[in-house]
């Protein structure tokens, strides 16, 4: 209701300045929230798990329709709708389903590989010739794709919980890749130590960038959304500069770094044919670590209190500015680890495609995961599966890989607009308590 918003002095959105500065007159109970807080609450609190699943389902249906009706065969069939209506519909159905089947086969499980496995003379030859590996290859690829998404997703989710929007997972990831790559080829160390040093390097590379953002916010009040976006540009161009100069692979004229030493590779978990590597375990451990930090430690208590109500946290004696810095430092480190996992796990050298759009996909992963560690794990696995399955889908059904990005975008769109999903599925607004709370306040 309009009475919840008394005309007060306009507050700069997300103004982190002294929280007490604007309160001289306005002592009303209507609490002023920053733009960021409102956005965060509307996304995080407006969603139930049901809504998330319905959002994914809806996105898949719409994605299928889009897919079917951009296919020339289907469109031809619809051109003959009146002469052969059945053909038109079944053609559309086949196209949509075919693409998803291929996506599934590419990301989770392909029955053909099992058939091939059982056609082998003996189990040992099957293993030896890689037929067993082929069965698990889709899952392995899903995990490989999910690893950087998961780590970078945590880098967005953790600041989320502390009331900040980290749009800069991209720049922090680049920072991590630069340092991890440099340590990978630039120094020579014994096997296990080299891996560890590079992983730490990845963390530090990202953490430095996160720290800059936190420090700027704490000292000058610069909003993290602005600084992280700008740092994304700065780091992309810095990378381009480095790859063309000091980090360029000798004898190459394109932008690519030397290959990192074999000692710096993250060990593969199930033999050399499957690409799944220790990076995936690292990512899961980080997810657990973030959960533990947030919900089992005093530091996490501070993070969450400051995220939900910075002024009450300040009154309770918490150091809000120092927490901002710490949160961004850890988040940057997590994004840096994502870079490390890509370089040391699968790519082994750094070029301009390495970082792709992980940093931005991370935002969608964190949104879909509702900013919670377990949610981020599940969301990263889902998007990892999309990424892993897309090439096979394209190869088998001639569906453009971009449909996967459309799917991701649709999912996030629906997750960001829970009322839309509720309206589509006529869910009872699960906000009775919320409404009561709202009017309870109005009754004051």
């Amino acid at each position: 209701m309009s009475e919840q918003a008394p005309p007060g002095p306009p507050e700069s959105p997300g103004s982190p300045g002294p929280a007490t500065a604007t309160k001289q007159k306005d002592t009303s109970e209507a609490s002023h929230r920053s733009f960021g807080q409102i956005l965060r609450e509307s996304i995080l609190e407006g969603n139930s798990v049901t809504v998330i699943f319905l959002a994914i389902f809806t996105a898949i249906v719409i994605g299928g329709l889009l897919n079917a009706f951009t296919n020339t065969t289907v469109l031809d069939a619809w051109g003959n709708l009146f002469s052969a209506p059945g053909a038109a519909i079944s053609q559309a159905w086949d196209t949509a389903i075919g693409a998803y089947v291929a996506l599934f086969e590419g990301s989770i499980f392909n029955p053909h590989t099992v058939a091939a496995l059982f056609q082998q003379a003996s189990f040992s030859t099957a293993i030896h010739n890689g037929y067993l590996a082929a069965v698990f290859n889709p899952l392995s690829e899903t995990c490989v794709q999910a690893t950087p998404l998961l780590l970078a997703g945590l880098a967005v989710a953790l600041p989320y919980q502390a009331g900040m929007f980290n749009i800069g997972a991209q720049s922090q990831l680049i920072g991590g890749t630069i340092l991890a790559t440099y340590l990978g080829y630039g120094v020579s160390l014994p096997p296990v130590i080299h891996v560890i040093v590079c992983v730490i390097g990845g963390f530090v590379g990202g953490a430095v960038l996160g720290w800059i953002v936190g420090e700027l916010k704490a000292r000058t009040g610069a909003h993290e959304v602005i600084t992280t976006i700008m740092l994304n540009y700065i780091m992309a161009y810095l990378l381009s500069f480095l790859l063309g100069n000091v980090m360029q692979r000798p004898g190459r004229s394109d932008l690519i770094s030397p290959v990192i030493a074999g000692n710096a590779h993250l060990p593969r978990l199930f033999g050399s044919t499957l690409r799944i590597n220790a990076g995936f375990l690292l990512a899961l451990a980080c997810a657990f670590g973030v959960w533990w930090l947030l919900y089992r430690t005093t530091t996490g208590f501070e993070f969450r209190a400051i995220g939900k109500n910075p002024s009450a946290a300040r009154v309770a004696g918490m150091n809000v500015e120092r927490t901002w810095i710490l949160v961004m430092l850890i988040a940057g480190g997590l994004a840096g680890l994502a870079g490390s996992a890509v370089i040391q796990g699968t790519d082994f050298s750094l070029n301009f495609q390495t970082y792709g759009t992980f940093g931005f996909d991370a935002i969608t992963v964190a949104l879909l995961g509702l900013g919670r560690p377990l949610g981020v794990v599940l969301a990263a696995l889902l998007f990892g599966a999309f990424h892993a399955g897309a090439p096979l889908m394209q190869a088998q059904t001639n569906t453009s890989v971009e449909i996967v990005q459309v799917l991701e975008a649709l999912i996030v769109l629906f997750v960001a607009a829970p009322p839309l999903i509720r309206a589509i599925y006529r869910l009872r607004a699960a906000r009775a308590a919320g409404v009561a709370g709202l009017t309870g306040k109005g009754l004051a």
Binding site: A21, Q24, A305, A436
Partner: protein, 526 residues
């Protein structure tokens, strides 16, 4: 009464499982002041929002002059002659009074330009008729709260309101402004306008109403004439007998615990909010700081707790200098703090009751060792405190934001009083609370005093100051205009609150003519 103008019949409004209004009947006669009395959450505002078209009733009907009407929006209600002055004003601060009044019903001259002259004349005319003394050309942001409220009243009158709803109109006013408002209400009444006066303050309702309807838990408990006694009305509101004034023994002040000397607080823009203020609070006494809101109370308490830098002066706690300590150091040194705005500064609404119970204590044993939180200790602490302070909540895991104001305040008190503390600073400790909760909060504060805690109460409610204080200080524009014993007449406090330094108050030292001398009087006066 035959000429019933406005009637509500069987109004029911539900929010989910909560019944905010349960078959409410209400009849407002023309030229009457009809008070709606009830605790917070009794459904007063919901009912008025139904009447004003902001909410649609689930059942029941609204009758105007006997005809059933349906309001789909405030526009319909305004057309039907109903005006509402909200608790929080709906004014554009950078517009003039006349502009605010015409906003939404701007009239234009044939040329298409705004007819400002007519707007100004309307305001002047109404202002004169009801003795409102409002300048149509003044900017709203420059006006005191009391005048802003009159602008809201003019807004309603310009739209030909014959029924005026005032939602907790006195919450933001000084005693003198309240008197002015009552005068205006009487004039409106004489002019034939009916007024629905919503309040939970017994005295005011008795002073102004012709009929009092008491609501409790969404239902009408009964109608009373204004001659009903306070105790009677309070019992109806709460549903049981209530002690309106907490009985307390005489204070036995001990050593000086909180010593504020020559304190000056300046904000970022250079405005001086607290101007060389000095006072002392002794162990076992309650100092009540009275004053109209916005005279530096907020800044003073924030400076005491360490949220605002101190430009000059000292703050000492039991002899220890805290002038430049961080909030955490002060909390650990033994300051308990009940902030003015509990939802903004006192609680994290999305956190559970249990987490809010440790909000400023989470990093100390038994709740944590190192960085590890002890969830067991947190849960058992919450269970204990919920019991002790009678916090009405489904469980300790319920988000605190869903509790009622009174229960939220109990959570804060439970947390602050549960810590070791020597000084309790409580700002507006019962703002927005119902009678029952006020009784509870007052009793706890007095009990802390009796245990030897030095208590500073900052309140703009004189009733509260009188009920609690062993000594009263009055703040005006960042200065203390006088210290008085609790026997001081209300008129004298009113003068001090308005800034006149009344010399020779009984509690003052003889040299009270000089403003600085008050500081000397502070310590001894108890």
């Amino acid at each position: 009464m035959t000429d019933v103008e406005l009637e509500l019949k069987g109004i029911t409004k539900r929010f989910g499982s909560l019944v905010a209004n349960d078959r409410i009947d209400l009849a407002v006669s023309p030229g009457h002041v009809h008070a709606l009395l009830g605790e917070n959450g009794a459904g007063k505002t919901t009912l008025m929002n139904v009447l004003y078209g902001l909410l649609q009733p689930d059942e029941g009907e609204i009758l105007i002059d006997g005809k059933s009407v349906r309001f789909h929006s405030p526009k319909d209600a305004i057309t039907a002659g109903i005006g509402m002055v909200h608790q929080h004003f709906m004014l554009v601060p950078v517009f003039t009074v006349a502009e605010n009044v015409t906003l939404g019903m701007e009239e234009t001259r044939p040329s298409g330009l705004l007819d400002r002259r007519k707007a100004r004349n309307d305001v002047r005319e109404l202002s004169r008729r009801y003795g409102l003394a409002v300048d149509p050309d003044a900017l709203v942001e420059d006006l005191p709260v009391g005048i802003q409220q009159r602008v809201e009243i003019i807004k309603a009158l310009v739209r030909d309101a014959s029924v005026l709803i005032l939602d907790e109109p006195t919450a933001v006013l000084t005693p003198a402004e309240t008197e002015d408002l009552f005068r205006i209400i009487r004039q409106l009444k004489d002019g034939g306008t009916s007024v629905v006066f919503i309040s939970h303050k017994l005295k005011e309702v008795q002073a102004i109403a012709d009929t009092i309807t008491v609501l409790r838990r969404g239902a009408v408990v009964g109608d009373k004439p204004p001659s009903a006694t306070e105790d009677e009305l309070a019992a109806m509101m709460v549903g049981r007998d209530v002690q309106l004034v907490v009985s307390k023994a005489a204070a036995r002040p001990g050593d000086v615990m909180l010593d504020v000397e020559d304190l000056t607080v300046v904000d970022e823009t250079g405005r001086v909010w607290v101007n060389g203020m000095s006072f002392q609070v002794r162990a076992g006494e309650i100092l009540g700081l009275a004053g109209v809101q916005g005279n530096g109370q907020t800044e003073l308490t924030e400076a005491l707790i360490g949220l605002r830098p101190i430009a000059s002066g000292y703050i000492r706690l039991d002899g220890r200098d805290l002038t430049h300590s961080t909030p955490r150091q002060r909390l650990h040194a033994g300051v308990a703090y009940v902030p003015e705005d509990r939802q903004e500064d006192g609680l994290v609404g999305a956190f559970s009751v249990a987490d809010n119970m440790i909000l400023d204590n989470y990093d100390r044993p038994p709740f944590a060792s190192g960085i590890n939180l002890h969830l067991g200790a947190i849960a058992s602490n919450a269970a204990e405190r919920v019991q002790e302070f009678d916090v009405r909540t489904q469980s300790a895991d319920t988000p605190v934001g869903t509790l009622s104001g009174g229960n939220q305040q109990k959570v804060i008190l439970a947390r602050e009083l549960g810590r070791e503390h020597k000084v309790l600073v409580a700002s507006q400790p019962t703002r927005g609370l119902d009678v029952g909760s006020i009784e509870f909060v007052h009793r706890r504060i007095v009990r802390q005093r009796d245990h030897g805690v030095a208590v500073l109460i900052v309140s703009s409610e004189l009733d509260e100051i009188y009920a609690l204080a062993d000594r009263i200080a009055v703040i005006y524009e960042g200065r203390i205009t006088g210290f008085r014993p609790p026997s001081v007449p209300v008129e004298e406090l009113g003068l001090l609150m308005a800034g006149s330094e009344v010399p020779g108050g009984p509690a003052e030292a003889p040299e009270a003519e000089a403003p600085e001398a008050e500081q000397a009087g502070a310590g001894e006066s108890s």
